[in-house]
């Protein structure tokens, strides 16, 4: 690689769907500007790189690493630690890396439950011998190793320190480019900041009409034909907007879905699900039956902590209980 003063960037995916890599590509023609300003030293989702390429780098060689995906396996952890050592600035990029995201909902179950479900119970699986993948196994050709599948999913910030976080599942292209521009210009805020998003909640940006209607019953989006102009919550559809950071541009709301919560909690809120619960139960109709309302929130963890479970207080308490056992 030619010696030059260009910024050195790495982009990695751990336990993620690949959507965050697509989000980087979605900056479109700005990719050319990125290429002009920076050398991409490592981006396995887009080009051929080997882990040995990274291992060969001196420490702190990479200026900024955009790490997407959570930590589910020993491989994820190994690369997170490796990239941490090789990078000056590490960014938890996207909801998985920042707060666990949808993969984090697997923490409702343990490793054994998940492996049994996937390798034995799913209708599409044919596995008469009940083989479950093991980290190490011997075959006639020799010993085979697989990364270890951990008991639970963790945001990358729980495994290695990160300087910044970029929320979103995935982060929207305009925000991605905004973050990259800030990186290129060297104009990053104090360490610990959330990049590429607003401070307050999504309701601030939402154009839907709020007329003060209180919730008489909670319904799921598929159970009603929602008024396209009215606030979802006022129609009894749990919308994560009140407890979700603004900045996405409301792509879900625009296509008639309530906010799913992927931009994580607003500034100053540590537990998105608890805050959302606090807000939605405060706006219930005085005539409504409370127990019915409670039972109408089917799958409360998946609804209130859809993206933030593995970074929540609820999760911490579960881990503590598991440790005691």
């Amino acid at each position: 690689m030619a010696k030059n003063n260009k910024l050195k960037i790495a982009i990695y995916w751990a336990a993620s769907c690949g959507g965050c890599d697509v989000a980087v590509v979605e900056i479109g023609h700005n990719l050319l500007k990125l290429k002009e300003a920076a050398d991409i030293l490592f981006w396995p989702a887009a080009m051929d790189f080997k882990y040995s390429d990274v291992e060969a780098m001196p420490d702190k060689h990479i200026d900024v690493c955009l790490f997407n995906g959570s930590v589910r396996t020993s491989e994820n952890e190994h690369i997170a630690k490796l990239l941490r050592a090789k990078s000056k600035v590490m960014v938890a990029f996207g909801s998985c890396a920042y707060e666990g995201c949808i993969p984090g909902l697997a923490n409702l179950y343990n490793r054994g439950d998940i492996l049994t479900r996937v390798y034995q119970e799913t209708p599409s699986t044919e596995n008469p011998d009940g083989v479950i993948p093991q980290p190490h196994c011997k075959v006639p050709e020799g010993d085979l190793d697989l990364p270890e599948f951990y008991e639970s999913v963790k945001p990358v910030g729980m495994v290695v320190p990160v300087e910044y976080s970029v929320p979103g599942c995935p982060p929207v292209a305009s925000q991605v480019w905004g973050v990259l521009e800030a990186i290129i210009a060297g104009k990053l805020p104090p360490v610990g900041a959330v990049l590429g998003a607003g401070d307050r909640n999504l309701c601030e940006e939402c154009e839907r009409v709020r007329d003060g209607t209180k919730v008489k019953q909670f319904v799921r989006p598929h159970e009603v034909i929602a008024d396209p102009k009215k606030c979802f919550l006022e129609q009894g559809i749990v919308c994560s907007g009140p407890a979700t950071r603004a900045g996405c541009g409301r792509p879900c709301i625009r296509v008639g879905m309530p906010c799913r919560g992927c931009y994580g909690p607003p500034e100053g809120v540590k537990d998105q699900g608890a805050k959302l619960l606090s807000a939605i139960m405060a706006v219930i109709d005085p005539e409504a039956d409370v127990e019915q309302l409670v039972s109408q929130i089917v799958d409360p963890v998946g609804t209130l902590y859809r993206f933030s479970l593995s970074d929540s207080l609820l999760q911490q308490i579960k881990w503590q209980e598991a440790e005691k056992k």
């Binding site: 003060g212 607003p266 100053g268 409370v290 609820l314 308490i317």
Partner: protein
């Protein structure tokens, strides 16, 4: 419009002309309302019977000078018992309105909105049982935004809005997030030796402590119990509960009023919705759902709160022994 003692109306006529004030003269001063009133039990100067009498006697300034006329929170415990069918909270509202017009202000604390944090999401407006919050356009940092504003004359400082606000932009002074946290932590309670008896944290609606005997019993609880009194169980943000459990507290008990008897109309229902959903989430996570408990104490359930706490402590002790 300023009214002075020279106005042609009598004070009584003025109150009766106010919506809600119409039935004033039905009152024959039996005092049943006072016997039902929770405010009167903790603040004997607040006496709706006497206030109504004073209005009937045109004692305008004397009525306004009593700072307790603002204390009625419209819990309406008195209303079904009034033999004359007077809706006393409406009448107290009428008196407050006349006082407001005369330039008097409520001395009660009120909710305050941090305009920089507020997004205008409107959750508080729907949450407030008194209609004390509403949105108004304001220019903040050069941008026009809709911001929540508190009508001090309507606010009862119950704190329901403070818990409801997803941005923690609303504070009720004595029960701010920081002060509640400080009450929990006072004397380093959370940090005290983990080997001791399992800790029980009680968030109690202060209207639950009506009888002297209950207050005494609450002051004699063992050291592993910490009671944090709040104006209303609706002030309890589930974040408080989870934060305490995460800090090592074994059980959190939230005590509200019986539905229909809530001092702030809706608070206990809101708390019920929050705490029971927390229970469901604990079950879903495969955790011990008993770690969060919610009880609703009726106005006549004397002794129930301290007894519930002591039962909880005893049960916890026996279960710890069993495990060991």
């Amino acid at each position: 419009m300023q009214h002075t003692d020279n106005t042609p109306h009598s004070f009584k006529d003025e109150v009766m002309a106010e919506p809600g004030g119409e039935l004033l003269q039905r009152c024959y001063s039996c005092g049943t309302c006072v016997s039902m009133c929770l405010v009167n039990q903790t603040c004997p100067d607040y006496n709706p019977r006497r206030t109504m009498r004073m209005v009937m006697l045109d004692m305008r300034e004397e009525t306004f000078r009593n700072p307790t006329i603002w204390h009625c929170s419209a819990c309406d415990l008195c209303h079904p018992h009034c033999p004359q069918g007077i809706h006393i909270s409406d009448l107290m509202r009428a008196i407050k309105n006349v006082a407001l017009r005369a330039g008097y202000e409520s001395p009660l604390p009120s909710a305050k909105v941090d305009e920089h944090k507020c997004s205008g999401c409107d959750i508080c407006e729907k949450a407030c049982p008194y209609g004390a919050l509403s949105l108004a356009a304001k220019t903040i940092d050069g941008k026009e935004r809709k911001i929540s504003q508190v009508d001090r004359s309507l606010c009862m400082a119950c704190g329901i809005c403070a818990a409801a606000c997803p941005l923690s932009a609303i504070t009720v002074e004595d029960y701010s997030n920081e002060k509640v946290a400080a009450q929990i932590q006072a004397g380093h309670w959370l940090k005290k030796a983990k080997s001791g008896d399992p800790k029980v944290l009680v968030f109690n609606c202060s209207w639950n402590l009506r009888a002297e005997a209950d207050r005494d019993a609450m002051s004699e609880l063992p050291a592993n119990v910490r009671v944090v009194n709040v104006p209303c169980s609706g002030r309890i943000d589930p974040t408080f509960v989870l934060t305490a459990l995460q800090a090592g507290v074994a059980r959190v008990l939230v005590a509200g009023c019986q539905p229909g008897e809530c001092h702030y109309k809706q608070g206990t229902r809101i708390a019920q919705g929050r705490m029971h959903t927390l229970n469901h989430m604990f079950e879903q996570m495969g955790m011990d759902a008993q770690r969060v408990q919610f009880v609703q104490i009726g106005t006549e359930d004397r002794g129930r709160l301290p007894a519930t706490i002591l039962d909880l402590v005893a049960e916890l002790k026996s279960s710890t022994v069993a495990v060991a």
